[in-house]
């Protein structure tokens, strides 16, 4: 691997930038692998990287039906936080935040992780009570959440409107200072480059069309648009299409796929210092390093695979943004798009084994999977390598729906997130 450093930059500068090599190979698929990851987003590429790096599996393929990071990895609003209510969630998401903190160094790739703080706005008495409960629960779990009065919130984020005559006035906020954003493409590319250097074959434009199982029921191969690939282990990180891939192995999933929309504005000078979220009025906003406001909306009302949603959903979000930040009322939006997110009944992910031997799944991240990318990848790799869950992802099993051990972040937050 061609490492990135100031010295390398200097050398390439002297050579007229002509010596840079592609960051990963484009291999043809081999007939067999020790493990196959389905889905070349951050989660899947990360799992391949950790399998190769920490568990010694080198003969791995990542199969991606489109291009790397072209699914939800490239479509989200890049918010990273770990201020979840339940102990299991706090452990999982904070595991990810801790990995984020060292990820650029680990991968020798600048993922632009920026711990600028994530502030969640409370607009009702109910919000205030729920958020304060979250703050206390988080602090018991060693997560740095704090409660802010409206004045403190405005001091932290000066564009914020805290006038009392708003439709949904700001009654306070919870702030996680270790939260922030990262560059989503760089996460996929950084993992891809490091995994490739460890011998992982990254195969794009390769859609899985069937999963073959042997007489004992264990997986033995995947059929793809680029031929048959034999493997004893399949890890599925296919987000919105997980139900379809698991269906190929005869596993029914507790998932429904919804469109989730996001949009960006024209780029402007730095005006917005942090990430602001409002679950109550469905507004999620930060400013990218390019200067665009990055805005996330809520999910559409109905399940769909169309990669687009209704205009009234984004309009509702922009109404809220304009009320919270009146200075943005004359901003123009440049692009909007949708991603397909797989939502579980309890709004917590599923990471672990399935009833089929050799088939592992990482799914159900719903509207907030990006933040967990390194943690999900790391625990999926552990589970695939050892055929048993890591203590952190053990509670997030598919079995929990059968056993009734739900991790009900839906009830905890009262919205999808």
């Amino acid at each position: 691997m061609q490492t990135f450093s100031a010295l390398q930059l200097f050398k390439q500068g002297l050579a007229g930038q002509s010596g840079w090599r592609p960051q990963w190979r484009r291999p043809e698929p081999k007939p067999a692998y020790d493990a196959v990851i389905v889905g070349g987003g951050g989660h899947g590429l990360g799992a391949a990287y950790y399998l190769a790096k920490q568990h010694g599996l080198k003969n791995i393929a990542v199969l991606e039906k489109g291009w790397l990071g072209g699914g939800n990895t490239g479509r989200n609003t890049t918010i990273i936080r770990s201020n979840y209510l339940f102990d299991e969630s706090a452990a999982l998401y904070d595991h990810a935040v801790k990995l984020w903190e060292g990820l650029s160094q680990e991968l020798n790739y600048n993922v632009m992780f920026s711990q600028r703080g994530v502030m969640m706005m409370a607009h009702t008495v109910h919000d205030v009570q729920v958020f304060k409960r979250h703050v206390h629960a988080n602090r018991c779990n060693g997560i740095d959440t704090e409660w802010l009065t409206p004045e403190e919130a405005k001091a932290f984020c000066p564009p914020l409107n805290i006038a009392a005559n708003m439709r949904y006035p700001v009654l306070g906020a919870s702030l996680q200072r270790r939260g922030g954003t990262a560059r989503h493409d760089a996460v996929a590319w950084g993992y891809a480059r490091s995994a490739d250097a460890l011998g992982v074959d990254i195969i794009e434009n390769c859609e899985v069309t069937a999963i073959r199982r042997n007489a004992a029921g264990a997986v033995e191969a995947v059929e793809t648009t680029r031929g048959l690939i034999r493997t004893p282990k399949i890890g599925v990180s296919a987000s919105g299409h997980t139900s379809l891939v698991l269906g190929m192995a005869g596993v029914r999933m507790p998932l429904e796929s919804y469109p989730l929309q996001a949009l960006v504005s024209e780029p402007i000078k730095p005006v917005f210092p942090c990430v602001v979220m409002s679950n109550t009025i469905h507004a999620y906003i930060s400013q990218s390093d390019k200067g665009e406001l990055v805005i996330g909306a809520g999910t559409d009302a109905y399940t769909s695979y169309t990669l687009r949603g209704a205009l009234h959903v984004t309009q509702h979000t922009l109404d809220a943004i304009c009320e919270l930040f009146p200075m943005f009322r004359r901003m123009r939006m440049l692009r909007n798009w949708g991603g397909i997110v797989d939502v579980t009944p309890d709004r917590s992910p599923i990471v672990g084994k399935t009833p089929v031997q050799g088939l592992y799944v990482n799914c159900g991240w719903g509207t907030g999977g990006f933040k967990a990318t390194p943690g999900a990848a790391h625990t999926l790799a552990w589970t695939m390598a050892k055929d048993e869950p890591h203590p952190i992802n053990a509670p997030f099993s598919l079995d929990r729906f059968r056993e009734g051990y739900l991790i009900d972040e839906a009830a905890a937050a009262a919205v999808a997130h």
Binding site: L244, R252, E256, T303, Y305, L311, P345
Partner: protein, 96 residues
């Protein structure tokens, strides 16, 4: 925004409705007699169809009644709507 033909009121904009999830999932009459697997299936497992999907809608801001719709989840085109209790119409002759 979808234009949804309510079988009682006719075509109305999507914001008058709420989505009620997958249709034709009957609650087992005596839950105590159902196996854990079947109860899990009833409560949580969903088809999540990519293609023609039968789903419930409720015309909350209209007649307030539930009905079912067949919608292609790859195009969002509604192929048919029908009253609750009626059998799923055959859409093989409908052009998607």
């Amino acid at each position: 925004m979808l234009l949804i033909p309510c079988p009682y009121c006719g075509p109305r904009p999507e914001i008058e409705f709420i989505h009620g999830g997958e249709a034709h999932i009957a609650r087992p009459p005596v839950p105590a007699d159902v196996s854990v697997e079947d109860w899990t299936d009833y409560l949580y497992l969903r088809t999540n169809e990519k293609g023609v999907h039968a789903e419930r809608w409720r015309h909350t801001h209209g007649c307030a009644r539930f009905f079912n719709a067949l919608r292609d989840t790859t195009t969002d085109q509604i192929l048919a709507t029908y009253k609750a209790g009626e059998a799923r119409p055959d859409t093989s002759t409908v052009k998607a």
